[in-house]
Amino acid sequence: MMWLDTIVQGILLGGLYALFAAGLSLVFGIMRLVNLAHGDLIVLAAFLILVLVTALGLNPFVAALVAIPVMFALGFALQYLVLNRTLGPDILPPLLVTFGLSIVIQNALLERFSADSRRVSAGALETASLQLGPINIGTMPLLTFLSAIAVIVGLNLIFYRTSLGRAFRATSDDRVTAGLMGIRPDRIFAIATGLAMVVVTIAALYLGTRANFDPTIGPARLVYAFEAVIIGGLGSFWGTLAGGIIIGVAQTAGASINPEWQILAGHIAFLLVLLARPRGLFPRAVD
């Protein structure tokens, strides 16, 4: 039953990667913006939660609730004041500005919090688990996976059931025409990035409570997230979840053979999918 356990743990890990990736997928889907600072923003949110937990003695979940509006405002301001200026037919400015932002966030965190490994304590939840037949499932991984599904259902509802979602889709399809219909693309983009930061905060909650983190781990999370988005196919949130699960299962399977192969196995799975389906498994938008 070892292999079944490996696959289940991999699927649950995939939930975490899908959480990392959902915000990226959202931003890329709406404005074709590749945010290379996404991983560092997750780490930033994790430090924000850590500060709230240690300074105010809050429960991590409550701390995340407090952090969500802060991160939304940060995302809104970042997009409105900085990133909107970089959008255009040339892909270079957004890539380079967000790359610079990634370096700035990493080093600001290093300066403030040092390179020490941190962890947000979730109390008894950390070690709690459920026995399902022959398999032992950790409560935190399960919670992560359920949160990922909730986030994706939520994003799909916003996208396809609300007027905000209609504005998102309209701006994504044709920015100029959407502008003629009374939509202000600047604000729509800012709201989208704000929303992505809400997802980032949820991802940060699980990043911080499940494993150690330090200011430099952002880029690696970014790479996993991107692999999930690319595997899933542009513009599909469920595809992103599938992509996360593929990376997660490949990593746990690799680790079960040799612990040193965990990360490598994830990357190789990504390259193999790329070989077979260059546009991802569930491509929706034509780009």
Binding site: L36, L92, L95, N107, F270, L271
Partner: protein, 362 residues
């Protein structure tokens, strides 16, 4: 009449200033080669660092600025080249200089399989693809136990001292072997930088360079006039990989100690390089030269402030990209019209002094 008038026009890229600058460039090169005779070892090591970063910056600029290929994974070739050289020296007992040549050849070969993957990805996805490839390379080399695995290894103690030419330089100038090694590495770096700049300049002035600019500016239009974008981009990708591999090997001959995390470092071989190009001016040959000088000055001024250094570098990079996307050299050339390595094509007529200029890159 009309035909005669046409024949009296010529397409040129050279300007009077650039011809004069050629003399200056040759003089700078000559002084550069003579520098070890009157400079301390520390200065030579600094110059070596500047020159190798300049070569990497020119490679990245060729990729991103001229071919529109934004890579964040050039460290794959730097590290691969460095490891190839180490393998040649430690496992095959070859001379490090032979290792450098091998590094270039194998890095060029490596671009074939990696290119096969990353060229399936467009634009921003390409950037991520190159990053994943570099990570795969780093993790794979960490598995190579004969070269120290994850902790890395050092060159055998005599390897660089017995390198071809070191004894000769040491005897000729009366230096110790370690100093002669540094000087040899420096000369190689200087030659590599000069050759890279000369090559890129000639490439951009050639027919292929015109095709490259056409592909970058409008891929569909370029195809319509018979330029094959895939071929152009693959060639540039291969060349950048080759030169990065050679540079990586050269850097690690001088360092003599390698580890996967250092050799495949995204900060050292890509982040710094990107900031050099962006601050100096992307899409020009002069830009990386200006950028590397600014980078070196900032590094020395901020050396004592740890992470503040990268933080400030990042902020400057963002600011330049937002305010002056063509960098410091772009600002300078907008004001003065001066180009030291002109690649812009100008129409000059024998009968009239009026010149018709094309776009920025001709």
């Amino acid at each position: 009449m009309a035909v005669e008038a046409l024949q009296s026009f010529r397409v040129e890229t050279r300007t009077r200033l650039s011809s004069a600058f050629l003399v200056v460039a040759i003089a700078v090169l000559a002084i550069g080669f003579a520098a070890p005779l009157f400079s301390s070892r520390v200065v030579i090591q600094d110059l070596f660092f500047i020159l190798t970063m300049l070569v990497l910056a020119q490679c990245w600029n060729l990729l991103a600025g001229f071919a529109g290929l934004v890579s964040v994974g050039q460290q794959a070739f730097v590290g691969f080249g460095a490891y190839t050289m180490f393998a040649a020296v430690i496992l095959l007992g070859l001379d490090p200089l032979v290792g450098i040549v091998l590094a270039g050849l194998l890095a060029a070969l490596l671009t074939v399989p990696t290119g096969f993957f990353v060229f399936r990805l467009q634009g921003a996805y390409f950037a991520i693809g190159t990053w994943v490839i570099a990570e795969v390379a780093r993790l794979s080399f960490a598995q190579w136990k004969a070269l120290g695995g994850g902790t890395g290894t050092s060159l055998p103690s005599g390897a660089t001292r017995d390198m071809f030419g070191v004894r000769w330089i040491a005897d000729l100038f009366g230096w110790r072997a370690s100093q002669a090694t540094d000087v040899l590495c420096y000369w190689l770096a200087l030659a590599l930088a000069a050759a890279t700049i000369l090559f890129i300049h000639r490439l951009l002035r050639s027919r292929q360079g015109l095709g490259l600019a056409a592909v970058r500016d409008n891929q569909e239009a370029a195809r319509a006039v018979g330029v094959d974008p895939r071929w152009m981009k693959s060639t540039v990708y291969l060349l950048a990989g080759l030169v990065s591999g050679v540079t990586g090997a050269l850097i690690y001959v001088q360092k003599a100690r390698i580890s996967p995390d250092a050799a495949f470092s995204v900060t050292d071989w890509t982040a710094y390089v990107i900031f050099i190009v962006v601050i100096g001016g992307i899409g020009t040959i002069e830009g990386p030269i200006v950028g590397v000088i600014v980078f070196f000055v900032l590094r020395n001024v901020l050396a004592d402030y740890g992470s503040w250094y990268l933080l400030i570098l990042g902020l400057i990079g963002i600011l330049v990209m937002l305010v002056a996307p063509r960098g410091l050299w772009g600002l300078f050339t907008d004001r003065t019209g001066i180009q030291l390595f002109p690649v812009r094509r100008m129409l000059t007529g024998a009968s009239t002094t009026k010149t018709i200029t094309g776009g920025t890159h001709g």
